[in-house]
């Protein structure tokens, strides 16, 4: 899906190709490529794609934003583009304007809760928050006595314990201790933490699908270059069959992720059918990251295991993204409960509802 038919994706792909070329990134051990990339993305208005004009954003459609994030996955970019987009989207749910600069959302795990005290202060801990260390602001979903609220929080007011995920990106623990938000408003009706986790999960699914597409691409290319036992390894049937399976995993991830994104972009509400789409996408894409990543590494042999080779940029990030906004274990249990609760005879009608 190299050719794109919308201007948002075209713009993003051009910026990625110019400033986030994998080899350039790989050769830059000091990560000095990140600042110009972020600046270019910001100047193009992409981090605030999902924020309406009147709230300070560029007002792109959900569908365009999803396609943009799929492209970001193909480049496995390590700047908080997805996180800032999600934060802007979350703030817009409560009609809070987005500030400039890097943002991220919290909580990033369905198991964590941020609580809103009676005096309007926020407290709680959020683990595995992507790019918290790089963020200037947090978009926070908080539970109070009167329901769910969305808040904008200045990052300097939080305690951040830094951590790294398996893709060497920041995945931090953020603790809010009676923090007064910059802005806070009730979330729109029906919006809750599950909605936010499903949305985040679909974003990660699109990124994983994109990364798998790149893994397939570079693995096929490598197999056509590398010679072993006096033949290109692409001519060995065992290698061909492995790559066919990688193509299958990549295709499954792309189908699940784009279907879920399409479902959300066209849904009136986050009903059971959207829940199925989003949860299934996160589960299936995570499984594809595991199976597909293993094949990509197998094809590349020892070279793909080195820091010098670009494969790890895709494979390790795809594995890391499994953990954000609910792991596949979490969503599988939740989806399994939903299915069991609706009963055996309702399973097929649910699957066939779309």
């Amino acid at each position: 899906m190299a050719e794109s038919d919308n201007i948002v994706v075209e713009t993003a792909e051009k910026i990625f190709a110019d400033l986030a070329d994998p080899q350039t990134i790989n050769n830059d051990k000091k990560n000095s490529w990140q600042a110009p990339l972020w600046q270019a993305l910001s100047e193009a208005g992409l981090p605030l794609s999902w924020v309406p004009d009147d709230l300070g954003g560029s007002g792109a459609s959900l569908a365009d934003g999803f396609a943009l994030l799929n492209a970001a996955g193909r480049f496995a970019v390590a700047v908080p583009l997805a996180e800032t987009m999600l934060a802007g989207w979350l703030l817009a749910q409560a009609k809070i304007a987005s500030p400039e600069g890097e943002m991220t959302v919290l909580p990033a795990s369905p198991k964590d809760r941020i609580l809103l005290d009676a005096d309007g202060a926020l407290s709680g801990r959020a683990r595995g928050v992507p790019f918290a260390k790089a963020a200037k602001h947090f978009a926070v979903l908080a539970h109070g006595k009167d329901g769910v609220s969305v808040a904008l929080v200045d990052a300097t007011k939080a305690r951040i314990e830094t951590g790294l995920n398996v893709g060497y990106d920041h995945s931090d623990t953020v603790t809010l201790n009676k923090v007064q938000p910059t802005a806070i408003k009730p979330a729109s009706k029906g919006f809750d933490q599950t909605t936010m986790m499903l949305m985040g999960g679909v974003v990660r699914s699109l990124q994983i699908a994109g990364a798998l597409e790149s893994m397939l691409d570079i693995s096929v290319r490598y197999s056509n270059e590398r010679v072993a036992f006096e033949k290109k390894i692409s001519k060995f049937q065992a290698v061909q069959h492995n790559l066919a399976r990688l193509a299958g995993e990549s295709a499954a991830a792309l189908a699940a992720a784009t279907s879920a994104a399409d479902a959300i972009a066209n849904a009136k509400s986050f009903d059971d059918a959207v829940y199925l789409e989003a949860a299934a996408a996160k589960i299936r894409c995570a499984e594809a990251a595991e199976k597909g990543g293993a094949i990509a590494h197998q094809v590349h042999g020892a070279i793909g295991f080195t820091m010098e080779h670009i494969l790890h940029r895709y494979s390790m990030r795809a594995l890391a993204w499994r953990d954000d906004f609910g792991s596949e274990s979490h969503w599988a249990v939740e989806l399994g409960k939903l299915v069991a609760n609706r009963g055996a005879d309702e399973l097929w009608p649910l699957v066939a509802s779309r």
């Binding site: 096929v220 249990v333 399973l347």
Partner: protein, 386 residues
């Protein structure tokens, strides 16, 4: 990109949902009337001729074909809905399914007009059954190795040789088969095979049933001895069947029948586990449902490509590969997850009976309609590896 694999999120249009309701209502009536038991996979050879006629009368056979041949000129997506509802209900579709999916489209493309006018309306009415004669003893997936000869004679061809693994040959009225009309050439080892329409139940054809490990009789050995096929029963180009056969594979390989053959064990697991599952059961069911949903999205997407007039051979091969591996593993996963289902669960016995049948069915799923190895070869070709 190396391979532009796309699976666009095609949605079934509104009229499909209306159709789905009609199909469900029809199947509910058939179940109530005792035509078949949805909770019992077809163990017996219930080829159900009357059921076929009633499906035909509904206009659900040859749905996408031109009206002048008895079709309905409806979309592939509508046909898709009918297929999946029949499959999920365990309806006895064997008598009409091959004709509807494959044989009819082959005739539409390659048969002379008078044969189309004769046979296609009868398929649409659910009156006739088709078999497909591809494999032979010692050939199987290697179709180039097919030896059964069609020798030119006055007004037609004489057939001598044996086809094998031919599903439904014992009840079929017709078979579409490939026979060798000349030897392969040095330049093209695919040369020399021709597609024929064969009228069954004639002198010169002997059908010998072959028992399957499920206890069913479904496939057969078919022996031809100086069997006469008239000239107008040649389908398409003499010696050129290979190209004809491969371009239609997308129809055979991406449909819902390619991941739903053992689906019933999943429903029964959900029933046995009940409304309040433990974590292990819930996670297991959740993963299986996510995988099923994803395959269905891929399969619907390919149906959309077919509707758009494309030939998604690689995409269809991917769906069949993933789909059949999944439906093969499904009974084993369900068995594993069912290990702690209460002995007193009301449907425990049904579940075990179904698992027994599904486990015996499983080995064939990655063989029929293109083996996993052949499919992965096609996908590898699509990736530019060969």
């Amino acid at each position: 990109m190396t391979a532009a694999l796309r699976f666009d999120p095609i949605r079934l249009p509104e009229k499909c949902e209306q159709l789905r309701k009609e199909v469900r209502a029809f199947l509910a009536e058939e179940i109530a009337a005792g035509t078949f038991d949805p909770h019992k996979p077809n163990r017996e050879d219930t080829d159900a001729p009357e059921f076929s006629r009633r499906v035909g009368a509904k206009g659900w056979l040859g749905m996408t074909w031109p009206k002048k041949y008895g079709g309905q000129e409806r979309s592939f997506l509508e046909r898709y809905v009918v297929t999946e509802e029949m499959r999920v209900a365990n309806a006895p579709t064997r008598r009409f399914f091959v004709a509807d999916r494959q044989s009819g489209p082959v005739l539409l493309k390659y048969a002379p007009e008078h044969i189309k006018m004769d046979i296609l309306p009868r398929i649409c009415r659910g009156e006739i059954c088709f078999a497909i004669g591809m494999s032979e003893p010692n050939s199987g997936s290697d179709l180039f190795a097919a030896k059964t000869r069609a020798t030119k004679t006055d007004g037609g061809y004489l057939i001598n040789g044996t086809k094998i693994w031919t599903s439904s040959a014992h009840i079929a009225d017709y078979m579409i088969a490939i026979f060798r009309t000349s030897q392969p050439t040095k330049e093209n080892r695919r040369h020399g095979l021709t597609q024929f329409l064969v009228k069954m139940k004639q002198p010169g054809i002997k059908v010998n049933p072959i028992g399957q490990i499920t206890g069913q009789y479904e496939f057969n050995e078919v022996v031809f001895t100086d069997f006469f096929v008239p000239d107008d029963h040649v389908l398409g180009e003499v010696d050129g069947a290979w190209k004809q056969a491969t371009s239609e594979l997308a129809y055979e390989r991406s449909g819902p029948e390619r991941f739903l053959e053992t689906y019933y064990v999943l429903t029964e697991l959900v029933r046995a586990v009940g409304p309040d599952p433990d974590t292990r059961s819930a996670e297991g069911i959740g993963r299986l449902v996510a995988q099923l949903h994803t395959m269905r999205r891929m399969s619907v997407s390919v149906a959309g490509m077919l509707q758009a007039g494309k030939e998604p051979v690689v995409e269809a091969s991917i769906v069949k590969d993933i789909g059949t591996v999944w439906e093969q593993q499904l009974p084993h996963r369900v068995r594993d997850l069912a290990a702690f289902v209460e002995e007193t669960a009301t449907n425990r016995e049904t579940l075990e009976r179904q698992l027994d049948f599904a486990i015996k069915t499983a080995p064939k799923l990655t063989i029929q309609g293109g083996t996993t190895e052949v499919l992965r070869g096609i996908i590898a070709r699509g990736l530019g590896l060969r």
